[in-house]
């Protein structure tokens, strides 16, 4: 009697668990189906596609490593865009990081109008790229733009031709990117600064530490994880970036502002070589994967450390 009751309740429990599981699945399915079809499948597909030749007519041809061989041996544009991607990253990342930290430290003082300053510094980040890029290009117009007018007025006879010049095109885009993104990273830094325990500063003051020493011994160590996090985020965002180049210079003049992601776009949507484009995308993926793994490992180290 007792036994049958037990089995009954077990059965009942089992049924209940099944029922609960079904409810749980009903919660995740709407998102999971969409996510699986429109994001997950393409990610897996991109790996397969990089070993194929395909212009969308008929079926893809499996060609093994040929795309990769072509990329590394017969495509000078690939190397140029890879080089430009690294130069772009090298230009954007350190400046954004230092500027964001400096601004966050300024903003972390007792301050009137903090909300105002924060909003102003953050706004370029939410403004549409198409709109700010066209303004930026007008300001830096080599013939009549206000920047060059000012430079000439203070006696510089041959100011740079900015986006129209081979040498200055990439720095112009780097400038635009720093200007647009710094406010975002400043806010991330500001949150980290506000999380630092005040007792640490008081202890440092009791030990007679000055402003710079306080920064070196209290602030900097406390925000190292944030710095690392921002560094990784910045690296990924610069490596994948190409919309600014597309909007401002179309990768030119020549190939002066052609970057890796732009090369992917061109190979796929201009040359219709979808397999080859996917092979180039794998290089981008590899770079981002390395960054992510480093971040993951160090993050673990940081948490072990704490």
């Amino acid at each position: 009697m007792a036994r049958t009751d037990e089995t009954k309740s077990l059965k009942h429990n089992h049924k209940l668990a099944r029922h609960n599981e079904l409810i749980a699945y009903s919660f995740i399915l709407p998102n999971l189906i969409g996510f699986f079809i429109f994001t997950f499948v393409p990610i897996v597909f991109s790996l397969l596609l990089s070993f194929c030749k395909w212009n969308l007519n008929g079926l893809p041809d499996f060609i093994g490593l040929k795309n990769f061989v072509k990329m590394f041996t017969k495509d000078p544009s690939f190397y140029i865009s890879l080089k430009n991607t690294f130069l772009f990253t090298l230009g954007v990342v350190p400046f954004t990081l230092v500027l964001a930290l400096a601004l966050a430290i300024l903003m972390n003082q007792k301050l009137k109008g903090r909300t105002f300053f924060r909003s102003v510094l953050f706004f370029p980040y939410v403004a549409s790229l198409v709109a700010v890029a066209v303004v930026w290009m007008a300001l830096f117009n080599p013939d009549k733009g206000p920047v060059n007018s000012i430079l000439m007025a203070i006696g510089i006879k041959n100011p740079p031709r900015w986006a129209a010049s081979q040498t200055w095109a990439l720095p112009t885009i780097i400038g635009l990117t720093i200007w647009k993104g710094t406010g975002y990273y400043m806010v991330v830094y500001l949150a980290a600064l506000q999380g630092i325990n005040h007792d640490l500063y008081e202890a440092a003051e009791l030990d007679g530490a000055g402003g710079w020493q306080k920064f070196l011994n209290v602030t900097w160590p406390s925000i190292t994880p944030t710095t690392f996090f921002i560094l990784m985020m910045l690296l990924v965002s610069t490596f994948k970036s190409y919309d600014t180049m597309y909007i401002t210079t179309q990768g030119g003049p020549g190939e002066a502002t052609k970057v890796l992601a732009y090369h992917i776009y061109n190979q796929a949507f201009v040359n219709n070589d979808f397999g080859y484009a996917s092979a180039v995308a794998m290089v981008l993926f590899a770079i981002v994967a390395v960054i992510t793994v480093i971040q993951f490992k160090t993050e673990k180290k940081f948490t072990d450390y704490l």
């Binding site: 995740i28 998102n31 969409g34 596609l49 909300t115 198409v130 007018s149 996090f229 490596f239 992601a261």
Partner: protein, 286 residues
């Protein structure tokens, strides 16, 4: 003794004052760098074309050309762009909010087989940029006949790993006791999601709303690849059309750019607290 103490104090206040002045000068300088391009844009949008680049810069034009703001709507179907962008933004944001919070509830509070595996799959894809898989995604959308369609764009943008991840992190912080109490009171899981989780998650909802809104409203490359019919193009594409077709007419370009920025500016001004808190708390970009 007392005198030196006073001197010390005085010295302190003087150096304090100096550091204050430096602080404000630096901040105002940086704020100016951020604002000047926008100021120039608005100023240029109110000028006749021949005055746009006159030097020295006239910041406030003598005869503001308000008519520029009338002309822009006639040259390129900006209004259609506005409506298309609004449609895409509203649909993706609402869908994203509903489905992510729905999934996040199961990931945070319910037990089922494969939960951690599926969640890991979500998390791992956060780090993969769209540029890596935009090509196969495009091919797939061609097979589905969803290119040049708003539905296609909505479907691609509405189900993000970021949304699920962010909502789940927030839901984890809501105490289980609350849910248990509700279950004893006979509330179903769907009821708990609607009556307990959502009302308690306003900051997370605001953050996701804002992230989704700014992404969709400002997105350029997505619509640029997918939408070819003019009647379907978004505001950013219309703006781009303006910039290329009327490339010599800077006054009109600047007027169009100003108009395109207004919705984001309004949204930002109203919700800037949430913008900043969202960035600070999640620290992850969409």
């Amino acid at each position: 003794m007392e005198k030196t103490e006073m001197q010390k104090k005085q010295k302190l206040t003087i150096s304090y004052c100096i550091s204050r002045v430096i602080l404000y000068v630096l901040l105002i300088f940086m704020a100016a760098i951020m604002l000047v391009p926008f100021a120039w844009m608005i100023s240029a949008s109110l000028k006749v074309e021949k005055d746009v680049f006159s030097f020295p810069i006239v910041w406030i034009p003598k005869n503001p050309q308000w008519s520029n703001y009338v002309t822009i709507w006639k040259k390129i179907p900006l209004l259609i762009g506005f409506l298309n962008s609004a449609k895409l933004t509203i649909f993706t944001t609402v869908l994203q909010l509903l489905t992510s919070s729905f999934a996040a509830y199961a990931f945070a509070k319910l037990r089922f087989r494969g939960r951690d595996t599926i969640f890991m799959a979500y998390v791992m894809t956060i780090a993969i940029p769209w540029q890596v898989y935009m090509v196969p995604q495009y091919i797939m959308m061609t097979q589905f006949k969803l290119t040049d369609s708003h539905l296609g764009i909505i479907l691609m943008h509405a189900f993000t790993a970021f949304g699920v991840f962010m909502m789940r992190q927030f839901f984890m912080g809501i105490p289980n006791e609350l849910l248990e109490a509700a279950r004893i009171d006979g509330l179903s899981e769907y009821g708990i999601w609607a009556k307990i989780m959502l009302p308690l998650s306003k900051p997370a909802i605001a953050t996701l709303c804002i992230t989704s809104f700014t992404f969709e409203w400002n997105d350029f490359m997505g619509p640029n690849i997918y939408l070819s019919t003019t009647a379907k193009k978004t505001l950013q594409l219309m703006l781009r059309m303006y910039n290329t077709q009327y490339s010599s007419n800077y006054a009109l370009i600047m007027a169009a750019a100003t108009v395109a920025l207004i919705p984001v500016l309004v949204m930002f001004a109203c919700l800037q607290k949430y913008f900043v808190e969202g960035v600070a708390s999640s620290g992850i970009k969409g």
